[in-house]
């Protein structure tokens, strides 16, 4: 019997274990689609539908104009009036409003005297990101209202004219949906691959497995197949589904994308198998996998840009397959990058795959002795 026949038999048996359980199969297909839709549309760092509290002690033209402009802003959902600053503070404390504007009694008088009329804005520092964005919105509104109140004050000033390549309207979805491919594929592939050997241990069939007339690397190769196939299938599915359910374009080469997904699946499968060889039971395997998934996700650049991390963590992120796959997803969906620019991100994933599989093989041998 050649090694190929043995690996094929092993792979078929492994595939059957995963695919013949209807609940498992449903989980493998349904859960990624739900995640894609749910999280792809939910994760936005934009700030909209803001509730703002106002204490207005001025009843002149300046506050009137400013509040009218505030009410007309499309990012603001509601304006709540508070009788006093203390009440406003309490409103912020209890999270009724994200920000509170305090308009002093002399605002319109200051405006009439041609001084700069100043308003205080109290922001909820617990939600510091949203608060800073809201402060920016309000500063813009104040600027526009000022120009409207006194057009001659608008001195000609150079502005910044921004053009956004590859995503002209800066749609957040265009970033999240291609990025979700990476996250979801990781979760599903790692979940399948970590059980491969741990499951045999838990059910006591590990000794039989080791007694098979197969070399260790043949066993490991056979064990790779289900997780790898699941990753390839799911990844490929999203590439087809995303342009169908959203307006995100796919500008790159499909073949290149599939090759990248295959390399990525292999890397994650390798990591999963390495964890599986050291796990005594399924619980350890799942939790071990999880211990690896979370840092890989947070360092990938999906939740926050890699540029903002400390230097040494940026280096760590270079060996994170998720970070490379994320770049490839955006590169192929939006930028339509050629193979020459994709390859620098493919080989690190292949290197991780090779490293993890060799480590897994070593551990398997070590335990067998």
């Amino acid at each position: 019997m050649s090694w190929w026949t043995r690996v094929k038999a092993m792979a078929l048996k492994e595939l059957k274990v995963v695919l013949l359980d209807r609940r498992v199969l449903t989980t493998l297909v349904i859960s990624p689609i739900v995640q894609l839709i749910l999280f792809g549309f939910a994760t936005t760092l934009e700030v909209r539908n803001i509730d703002i509290g106002v204490v207005n002690r001025d009843n002149g033209v300046a506050s009137e104009q400013f509040l009218a402009a505030l009410g007309g802003s499309r990012n603001i959902r509601a304006i709540a009036f508070y009788p006093s600053e203390a009440a406003l503070r309490e409103g912020i404390e209890q999270r009724e409003v994200l920000a509170g504007l305090v308009i002093p009694p002399n605002l319109s008088a200051q405006y009439a005297r041609r001084e700069t009329a100043e308003m205080g804005l109290l922001l909820d520092g617990r939600r510091i990101n949203a608060a800073q964005i809201v402060a920016g919105y309000l500063a813009d509104i104040a600027n526009d209202t000022g120009t409207m109140l006194r057009p001659e004050s608008a001195h000609p000033e150079p502005e910044v004219v921004a053009r956004h390549w590859w995503n002209p309207n800066l749609e957040y979805r265009w970033f999240t949906l291609p990025g979700m491919i990476t996250l979801i594929t990781t979760v599903i592939v790692l979940s399948v691959s970590v059980q491969a050997i741990a499951r045999e241990r838990e059910f006591g069939t590990y000794d039989e497995l080791m007694a098979l007339p197969m070399r260790h690397w043949e066993i490991l190769l056979g064990k790779c197949v289900p997780a790898f196939c699941v990753g390839l299938f799911n990844g490929g599915l999203y590439v087809l589904v995303i342009p169908l359910v959203s307006d995100v374009p796919f500008n790159g080469s499909l073949v290149l994308m599939l090759a990248a997904i295959a390399s990525f699946s292999l890397a994650i499968t390798g990591i999963g198998l390495a964890i599986s060889t050291v796990s005594q039971n399924q619980q350890q395997a799942f939790l071990g996998g999880f211990l690896v998934i979370v840092p890989m996700m947070l360092l990938s650049g999906y939740a926050s840009p890699v540029d903002g991390m400390p230097q040494w963590l940026q280096l760590v992120s270079r060996i994170d397959p998720l970070s490379h796959m994320l770049t490839i997803c955006h590169g192929l969906f939006l930028k339509g990058l050629p193979p020459a620019l994709i390859w620098p991100h493919v080989w690190p994933m292949l290197a991780v795959a090779a490293g993890a599989l060799v480590a897994g093989l070593g551990l398997l041998r070590l335990r067998a002795e």
């Binding site: 009329a117 104040a142 120009t147």
Partner: protein, 377 residues
């Protein structure tokens, strides 16, 4: 058996002891309860940061005048940008493709003359739109930097600058504008959600999968007592893990802790009740460890991370998803948790949230009890 059965407590304690043994003897529990919280606190405290700096930005100076040089010097001094000059957009374009540059600023020919003649010529910015967040911040920061520079320059050029209306922002609870203050309490919530749903999702499923559930059910103990005995060790672990996180947050990352330990204990207990119940229900419902973990990830961990308002504002999500967040327990945890650190004891905020979490817990507990009872019948 009646509730007054004198041996009931004995038996419940025995099951608790068994659960404890199972927990302690397994190194993966240690990993999840001690290692994972430390890793998460580190990542959210040191790696994930929404305050971006050092964005690699290319600059093309087509003007070559004093004004354009000074503007570039100002940008170079600004810690938000890492400026790299190039002769033309075409040369820098490759950097944009590979991701080495996130934007290109073009100062057009005639910039200085325009400024002097009060016929300003606009600065152009090209951003990498595939990184939406960076592109937005880059645009905002460049606008701010240009405005400041023009205002400073205006004095020399005799251009009158007095804004008509001005907003003076003040950030309560977080005057230093540290995104860490928002992220670290959120990370504690994630740790609790993980221990709650993920660890418990495995425990009943494991009994079913290994066929030891029958034995457990044959124990002369009522179903609610059985469920409680199973939960208590994990509740204690969850609390221990939370305490560890709080210590790291306060002593490691210098977060203020303005609330009381009692408030934190009540909030954490209520949340743990809800997520432990959820995990156990998943576990009893699926009876399979693999399906169970997938379900726990999908309905427990990921929603806690993405739909709780911790990283992403709930109010900004599509309406349908906003409705969905009402059934995510973490939604009722994150505001209280952030407040107990940064604000103090805001009972008006805590009590309703604790009540809702306990309702969740009660509901899940009833469902678990029923799911197990039905199986015997």
């Amino acid at each position: 058996m009646s509730a007054r059965d004198p041996l009931l407590w004995c038996r419940a304690a025995a099951i608790r002891r068994k659960e404890w043994a199972q927990v302690w003897l397994d190194p993966s529990t240690f990993g999840l309860v001690v290692l994972m919280p430390l890793i998460l606190m580190f990542l959210f405290g040191s790696a994930v940061s929404l305050d971006v700096h050092g964005t690699r930005t290319g600059v093309v100076d087509q003007d070559h005048t004093r004004a354009s040089r000074e503007l570039i010097a100002t940008l170079s001094r600004n810690s938000y940008f890492a400026i790299e000059e190039g002769p033309s957009v075409a040369v820098l374009e490759q950097g944009m493709r590979t991701g080495d540059l996130r934007g290109i600023v073009v100062i057009p020919d005639g910039f200085e003359t325009g400024l002097a003649r009060l016929q300003p010529i606009d600065i152009q910015l090209i951003t990498d739109g595939s990184q939406v967040n960076t592109a937005t911040f880059l645009t905002g920061h460049l606008r701010g930097a240009l405005k400041e520079w023009v205002e400073a320059e205006a004095g020399e050029l005799d251009i009158p600058v007095t804004p008509v209306l001005k907003i003076l922002p003040r950030y309560t609870y977080n005057p230093g504008l540290e995104s860490r203050y928002m992220l670290v309490p959120g990370a504690i919530g994630i740790v609790m959600a993980m221990i709650g749903s993920l660890l418990t999702a495995l425990i009943m499923a494991r009994e079913y999968e290994r066929g030891t559930m029958e034995g457990l059910l044959a124990t002369p103990i009522s179903i609610p007592a059985l469920v409680l005995s199973k939960l208590i060790p994990y509740y204690v672990l969850g609390l221990a893990s939370t305490a560890l996180c709080v210590v790291v947050a306060v002593f490691g990352y210098g977060l203020p802790f303005h609330g009381s330990v009692l408030a934190l204990f009540l909030i954490a207990s209520a949340f743990l009740t809800a997520v432990l119940g959820q995990g156990l229900l998943i576990s009893a419902g699926t009876k399979n460890q693999f399906v169970s973990t997938q379900f726990a990830l999908l309905s427990g961990f990921l929603p806690s991370l993405l739909l709780s308002g911790f990283l992403f504002e709930i109010d900004s999500m599509p309406t349908a998803i906003q409705w969905l967040t009402y059934i995510v327990p973490a939604r009722y945890l994150i505001p209280s948790l952030q407040s107990v650190f940064l604000v103090g004891d805001v009972w008006e905020l805590f009590l309703p949230n604790i009540a809702i979490l306990l309702l969740f817990g009660g509901f899940f507990f009833l469902r678990v009890t029923r799911a197990i009872t039905r199986r015997i019948a």
